[in-house]
Subunit: 563 residues, 2 copies
Amino acid sequence: MATAVWSADPRTGKRREEGGPVAVEATAADVDAAVRAAATALPALADRSVRSRLLRGAAGLLEESAAEVVAAADAETALGVPRLTGELARTAYQLRTFADVVDEGAYLDVIIDHADPDATPIPRPDLRRWKVPLGVVAVYAASNFPLAFSVPGGDTASALAAGCPVVVKAHPDHPATSELCAALLRRAAVEAGLPADTVVLVHGFEAGVELVRHPLVAAAGFTGSVPGGRALFDAAAARPRPIPFHGELGSLNPVVVTPAAAAERPEAIGAGLARSFTLGVGQFCTKPGLVLAPAGPDGDRLLAALTEAASAAPAGVLLDGRMRDNFLRGAAARAALPGVTSPVGAGDASGAEEPGGTDARTAGGADTAGSAGAAGGAGAAGGADAAGGSDKAGAAPAVRPGYVVAQARDLTEPGAYDLLLEECFGPLTVVVRYGDAAELAAVLDRLPGSLTATAHLGAREAEQDGGPAAALLARLTALAGRVLINGWPTGVAVTAAQHHGGPYPATTSTSTSVGATAVERWLRPVAYQDTPAALLPPELRDGNPLGIPSRVDGRLVPAAPAS
Amino acid sequence: MATAVWSADPRTGKRREEGGPVAVEATAADVDAAVRAAATALPALADRSVRSRLLRGAAGLLEESAAEVVAAADAETALGVPRLTGELARTAYQLRTFADVVDEGAYLDVIIDHADPDATPIPRPDLRRWKVPLGVVAVYAASNFPLAFSVPGGDTASALAAGCPVVVKAHPDHPATSELCAALLRRAAVEAGLPADTVVLVHGFEAGVELVRHPLVAAAGFTGSVPGGRALFDAAAARPRPIPFHGELGSLNPVVVTPAAAAERPEAIGAGLARSFTLGVGQFCTKPGLVLAPAGPDGDRLLAALTEAASAAPAGVLLDGRMRDNFLRGAAARAALPGVTSPVGAGDASGAEEPGGTDARTAGGADTAGSAGAAGGAGAAGGADAAGGSDKAGAAPAVRPGYVVAQARDLTEPGAYDLLLEECFGPLTVVVRYGDAAELAAVLDRLPGSLTATAHLGAREAEQDGGPAAALLARLTALAGRVLINGWPTGVAVTAAQHHGGPYPATTSTSTSVGATAVERWLRPVAYQDTPAALLPPELRDGNPLGIPSRVDGRLVPAAPAS
């Protein structure tokens, strides 16, 4: 019997009854049919110009339907119309960027080595290498970006750019938005002369597990939690024929504020941090989750500014009731650690619940002035929600952003404070005060891999070649895939140089899910040896008839101007 | 108590007692010490010019010590001085090729996008991306190439080129050669100004398992069997922090001979096949293991030529007793399948054993003339050797090459004949006769992934754009990482365009272990956002001070001439 998939309103926690269920969960047979249908699109996708047309067409259709798509996404995520309007523009831009990547052709990594009978140590045959699509790609949509990291998002766009059909597993937080976007992508496929099944949508947790195990699925892209992503990664690795699993799981996104930076601009850093960690109700994978700030008066001033800005930050609605429960519980557990203070208490914004961690929160030395009144905690309601087993049931209104403060000395060895080194999804950040460079280094040594790492430097530090700031940059490079100076990690530009990935658990591979090079995930190289020109694709023939960038006999050949 | 590692002579199966054991097996503590020692070399390896010097120095030392290294390798592998002299030259060439890769710098994939405050849909920060080394790389040496795919081989060379220290797990078939080569690499490191522990050698099966689990090991390269490689792949994936595992496991290397090719040059193809599958006593990962030849008189002529050439091929000594047992057993099991014939029987070249599979071999319709007399099988001695549990104990002299013939109709569905779709390491190939294009297609649909796939085409087929040969090429492309026309897959040129990898089980990733792009396996991208020039590596600064190829604001910039 088919299990219905319903849309729900995170602002009320209530299922939308009007119009009935959005879809049904896919059975194993449904997943099999979906993958086989997608696989039939593979040959038609071999034509690069068709793929370019598909991507540009999808961008256009998304923009034409913007009002409807944004309304659907807002109703299911509560992220707000302005944010979702921006996300739609970014998603359309991303689709067109990948069309540009396809048109240029550099991503094919064409390398031609002509035969050399006189080569040493032995004669060389003619070898011509490029990259071919892996096959059907499974995409697991994210909760927090219903467009840019979901059905029409970067994984789908880059897989289509590579020539791979896509089966998307919808996120349960936005099934109606997913259906709407899938319909647009399928229409774009048909309009580009491709089968509609170039993109297929499935719903359901079990469907997601079936999908990664399907023999015809050749690779997977995932954005989500560490436990969910790891389970799917393990399933991908355990297959009789393992497949690449590009998962973006969890990220702490550490920020280091040097003493010089704290001395020079404590207010700007405190206010900037508050803006960044509360953006999108803290539901960004790049949210700064751990901030190393110096002890002493400059750090105190930074925290005072942070307190002021964070106290003034609006409450917000999280994506679903389970996330809300996890956030409230996670914030309270961190605040309850001995010695940890909570200058601005994160929690339920309704004020109805008494914070569960009050004692702990006031037990430590309060190292900043100002506390944001009724701080929240994981009350009985949270536990009841989780026991209810429904994603949406019992979701209460908004949560309030907050931050906690810990001491570096508590984090230099494994123990209970390790909780502070885990991502807490939602508007909470952890400030760790360090006394000296040794304490800072000791905490950095304990950090897991992240998508980003940030340093706030003093003006002179930033200009000194080979000094302590350069050493700090090298240390942060080992921790993350993107390193920022004097900025904030939230906001991920879609450009060629972007890298949105990092050491595990940030990602399960060395790849990126944002930016032009994301296409590399869905390709594998093939070399043709001594193959007659008539049998080669035009991209690999002599004279570069399509004018694509390549490497010929060792020399790099930039793109030829279009004739 | 330390377990001694001995060198043994495959020509006699006897341990070399003179001089005592070569080394001892590494304990878990030894592996930990080895990895930690290697990790200390990471910072010094950051300098590209030092790495280039190391690689060129290692090539020079290898050549200087050629006589000693080749003698040691021949004594342990029986591969012969001419072959090993060539392998040493190739290994030195490979080291220098990677030095060239390091010097050029294109492999860093430098991409610079300057800030654009007017970018749509949102302003863009300054982003500069390149690639950094992953950390300590574990290399698992191969049995069949004691130099080119072992201690000083492609995995080690490419990892060092990437800036990664290496811990090599020696293959038990050539521990003395491994020690000798490791000493040369360590000397080259010191002469380049690096710690000797830039390369560390360990011995022992358990050490190999410990190595892939070590927290400081960041990636692994492997060349070997499917069971061994899969076990290590699984261990790499099961780590708390999974790591990339680039394993080259097993490969059938199918060859398709079209009716036109068989009609035009049956003798050349038959003789060429015999040369290729017997090269190096059939111990090549690219050995053509399955040959699809047409039924009928042209195919018969091809097989007659194959029989003549294979019968004349010399017997050879396999790398160790276990491989010999497996080969004899595997050849006999294939020959014993109902309807399978054995025109040239592979087996023990001593003539002492009666073939075990005589009945089966003569039961099927003998579709070619000529049988190579005393064909071998897996006799009682083979079983006894295996039970003995020692790699070398009981190895008898040479084995004789052979081939078996099966019918395509037996291979179109899963069943007992699936054994013919598995690699048989050693000088055996399987010829499958097909009646028509449908039978050929049905067999191709059942083939596992391979390193290579080859088509032998008629002269007119090879010149026809978009015809059946193009369709065959597309079909073979789905099966392999290198596709050859009218050639033989043994022999893997070290060039930029080479790809030595393929769909599982050929490799566990989409990467190559031969050719310039093999360096990509040991790197991960990092993007720097809004980072002051003083803190950036020179490669990422404006004006391209080091003149390396890059992409700047979307445009590809070839290497600048050295100033």
